[in-house]
């Protein structure tokens, strides 16, 4: 409710910069996500207002909200049975897949977005994941591997398509709650809002979210990747100290 009120206030206060482009005003509940040792996931609220076009009678508008993690290359492997045991036998290199990808819509996807528009804007997970090289190499099964990738990440809570999750009120206000799971990868995330009419995108809006490890998590991760030798030595030193400490402590306890 507060989000909606805030959106209303924003819609009223902010002057339109460019009447054509500024059809949507939107904001996020947070622009920064800090991953610390106690991070158990977070919730992102994307909300905003749609400006009506005065004087023209139009088909109703719909809203699509996406949140995407940084794009990373991954290899998807498939197991098959070799000599009685299940072994990775085939692999497909995916050029870029978002580490997190959530899509929420205000109505069933088939009604809010045409296939052509999806192809152009890369909105559904299948379209967002890029595997140009694998397709070029003529790997027929690339789609199966992409489907496998999506399935695994859906189970991990990283990918989701939530049809009808966006609350659209009076063709003017919208809001959606998206769950960010605890297993987030750090990087620059983007939230995008698309306004569609008859399946075509008529306006869009983009915001970035900074997801960072902080504190001890930040220190460990940075050290491990930038000074791996020092990190390894520190790990060993901690282990030695703990081993010595435990031995000394219990000797003392026993007298």
């Amino acid at each position: 409710m507060r989000a909606v009120l805030l959106a209303l206030a924003l819609a009223l206060v902010l002057p339109p910069l460019d009447a054509a482009a500024q059809r949507i005003v939107a904001d996020l509940s947070q622009e920064r996500v800090a991953i610390d040792a106690r991070f158990e996931g977070s919730e992102l609220v994307v909300f905003g207002a749609i400006k009506p076009e005065p004087g023209v009678a139009h088909a109703p508008v719909e809203v699509i909200v996406t949140v995407s993690g940084p794009l990373r290359p991954v290899t998807v492997r498939r197991k098959s049975r070799v000599a009685g045991i299940w072994v990775n036998t085939e692999g497909v290199a995916i050029d870029a897949a978002p580490t997190l990808y959530k899509v929420a819509t205000s109505a069933p996807l088939s009604e809010v977005l045409t296939a052509v528009e999806d192809l152009r804007r890369s909105i559904t997970p299948e379209r967002r994941i890029r595997a140009v090289d694998a397709r070029e190499a003529g790997s027929e099964a690339t789609d199966d591997f992409i489907a496998g990738l999506i399935r695994i990440r859906e189970r991990q809570g990283l990918y989701a398509v939530q049809e009808g999750a966006v609350q659209l009120t009076d063709q003017a206000l919208f809001s959606v709650n998206l769950a960010l799971p605890a297993n987030l990868v750090e990087g620059q995330y983007t939230a995008q809002v698309y306004l569609t009419r008859e399946g075509e995108v008529v306006a869009d809006f983009t915001r970035t979210i900074d997801v960072r490890k902080v504190g001890l998590e930040r220190w460990i991760y940075t050290l491990a990747h930038q000074r791996p030798l020092v990190y390894g030595l520190v790990s060993i030193a901690i282990a030695i100290a703990a081993g010595w400490g435990a031995s000394a402590l219990f000797r003392w306890v026993r007298g």
């Binding site: 040792a37 299940w86 990747h225 790990s235 703990a242």
Partner: protein, 315 residues
Amino acid sequence: MWGMLVYLPIAEVSVNAFLLLGLGGAVGVLSGMFGVGGGFLMTPLLFFIGIPPAVAVATEANQIVASSFSGVLAHLRRKTVDLKMGTVLLVGGLVGAGLGILLFNFLKAQGQVDLLVRLCYVVFLGVIGALMFVESLGAIRRTRAAREGGAPPPARKPRRGRGWVAALPFKMRFRTSGLYISVIPPLLVGVSVGVLAAIMGVGGGFIMVPAMIYLLGMPTKVVVGTSLFQIIFVTAFTTLLHATTNYTVDMMLAVLLLIGGVVGAQIGTQLGTKLKAEQLRILLALMVLAVCGKLAFDLLVQPAELYSIADPGGH
């Protein structure tokens, strides 16, 4: 409080902190009670709770540094460490760890490292669990026979100075062990233990201790101390290699496991002196066989998800 999740910065997963402390503690109790390293139980348990195998192996190597260091101090005080033999085993171990990491990283690039690690575990846990089971059944039978008044059948004495071991060149004198043998067999034992440390995230005591007794003919009282001495350095080296080539050592995970582990080991040592070892050893054997069975089952039965994701940059 009991549901406290902790985010592991390198594994990049959230796990219940008390689960990790408890696992460390439980395996620590077992290792204290039976004088085993515990790595061969901990690493597969980490797979089961969803830690990526590469992170589990590397981090467990780091944890073993702590538990073996804690153990070796007691042996140094009692002067039951053959430092010269330990050094020879260590030289072999460092070479083996290097070879193991090369194999590990090669298979990782091929997407087969999980398979290698799991297969190694199935084979070693199966063999060790079965041997331990038979051995402890025999021990129980002997005690029972002794209690019923009959003369106990003699326990097997280690055979000393096998023909082919004695015939090898490059002999060296090991005063603490009272041996004059070739350095080749201890070097080879060291190499094989080093390879296992790098691939499986174990100390390798379960291979080294029998090899020292039966192959090298070392006296039993210096065997455990000397193997712990070697294990500290080999697992420390393995930790460094994994940290610098794979970035898979998770300090947070290691600390939680070793807090549980060192406390558990001390409790286990106390318990071990009070409880009947043979019966408990059968339980340990059954547990090892159960973990082996679960790993074998996962390899044999069609997985619910045939696809898996490997991240070429990270781990």
